[in-house]
Symmetry: C2
Subunit: 336 residues, 2 copies
Amino acid sequence: MKTGQKSTIHDIARKAGVSPSAVSAALNGSWEKRRLSRTTVERILEVARSENYSVNLQARGLRQARSGLAGMVLPDHENRYFAELSQCFAAEAHARGLCPAIVHAGRDAAEQLRSVESLIAYAVDLVMIAGASDPPALAQACRDAHVAHVFVDHPCAEAPSVVSDNLSGAAELTRRLLSDMAPPEAGDPAGWLYFLGGAAHLPASSERIRGFRAEAGAAGALFDAEAQIRACGYESHRAEAELAALCDRLGRLPAGLFVNSIGCFEGVVRFLGGLSEDAIAACTFGCFDYDPFGTLLRFPLRMVRQRADLIVAEAYRQLDAGASGPRLVRIAPDLL
Amino acid sequence: MKTGQKSTIHDIARKAGVSPSAVSAALNGSWEKRRLSRTTVERILEVARSENYSVNLQARGLRQARSGLAGMVLPDHENRYFAELSQCFAAEAHARGLCPAIVHAGRDAAEQLRSVESLIAYAVDLVMIAGASDPPALAQACRDAHVAHVFVDHPCAEAPSVVSDNLSGAAELTRRLLSDMAPPEAGDPAGWLYFLGGAAHLPASSERIRGFRAEAGAAGALFDAEAQIRACGYESHRAEAELAALCDRLGRLPAGLFVNSIGCFEGVVRFLGGLSEDAIAACTFGCFDYDPFGTLLRFPLRMVRQRADLIVAEAYRQLDAGASGPRLVRIAPDLL
DNA sequence: ATGAAAGCGCTAACAA
DNA sequence: TTGTTAGCGCTTTCAT
């Protein structure tokens, strides 16, 4: 067929000698319930195929007050972890017969809100929100529109949320780094373990800092929290500068470094580029994030890998359960 | 307001004491054309806001035979380059007032076709396809549905396509590596430059191989193409094994290595992990792909970075131009 | 076992 | 300057 217009169920109905409603039922699988004869259905499908008919999902969605779309909003894809989240989100949406609509909304709260509203306007069947800057506003919009929603990465205090267990993940990494180092002493700041990077006011970082504090404290390795915890932001250049300043003070690399996020770690590695093998070998490194090249550096590196797969799976589970009140689930990350 | 139901333009119309079409015009910006008075419009908008009304984009789309969705299908997001492509795609869609719907369809041709058909069923306004396994089939589907489409990364012989200039990018990298190495001689295979990784039957790899051959040939550095060009696939373990075998034959690392793709490069770095500094220093490395950690390794690495931004921009330009016949545009990548 | 008809929420002629 | 009306393509009672 090569008519200029797309064919509709009416065209198919006419050509197959049946009614539009029969075509509808044949095509959307509800024909058993409607008790159409198998032969009729086959005739209809045959005609549809030969006309290479394609349902108009907007019309169906309008009628059914749903769309078959699964919406996700996330800040960006440069971040490997977000990329994984979106990948898992899409795979699961697919498995449920939904079409994933993924929107990159950046870090700006207003922009994120617009994105959510836009998804709502398309009558998405669910929305998953990663890295929300203003969770309550987004939750509000979803609630008003009666759209199932769940937060990942950044939790929302008033809606189901699934995040990495940053607290225990950080504690575990801290413990491991301490056990790999010589026991630190109060009098020698160069022998201490330092926490570098992240933003203390964001939930993920603040939990990691708590984990670090708790574990280091318990091990008697927290001597001067102010000095040891340097949440200088997520930008690699800031981390690089911060580490440079630290080395300047200490006269060498510290004995241990807990780097918060892969972006900061880039800055760290850049700084290390100027140092000797021996200087580097004297420091024990850990990073709360994962990159395949991390295992391929010239010094050993412990990494914490967030389980995007488990997080997304649990998030869908929350949606399935119809959860809508506040509920925070933490997923343990892997220590590599 | 907290009625259970979502409000429609009829509700707004009633509350504002106007007709539904006036509400429609006020809300979608066509009120100037319809010459509604500014005061009426403001009253309508006020009511809409207080009811926190949200348009039903499915209804609008159905009526207008479009959706305001911009569809993209791509294999996956693990690949940094694809992630960048999708990021750029979404940003530009946004700028045009379209909502990006990104579908991860894997490498399977049938799955990709289903994804495209699904987007078409949602009446997307355009489709961008990255890494198509069977381009003609996808182009056919789009053409049948009268949907504007463009291919990136993998070109399609019968539709507008935008890809990296793999040929000249590879030639440039080859030239650079040769100029960084000692001049190779026919009699000493260990002194040659080798090409490692990729799949010769795929368009990108085959172009890169052509570029390598041409440049190496012109420089008198192609002695045994069969031995020097090892397109062993994109998998990191294959590349690792292939390099191991090569070193085994040569008794050392070759003088130069052109690694096709970042995935293969991971395999290479893994293999290098077992070698001494000196052994590694004797080889000149290049990679046709980009990763921020590439500059942070313990040996120098030339990288070719594909310009996802320019590729996507050009792809949109093709869509704007209404191009629909075959047309291949190549975008020069950067040599870092 | 099948058809007729109403209507999802919106827009765009056409009237007034 | 504004309202009325007829659909967009589909699903879904309700008839038959």
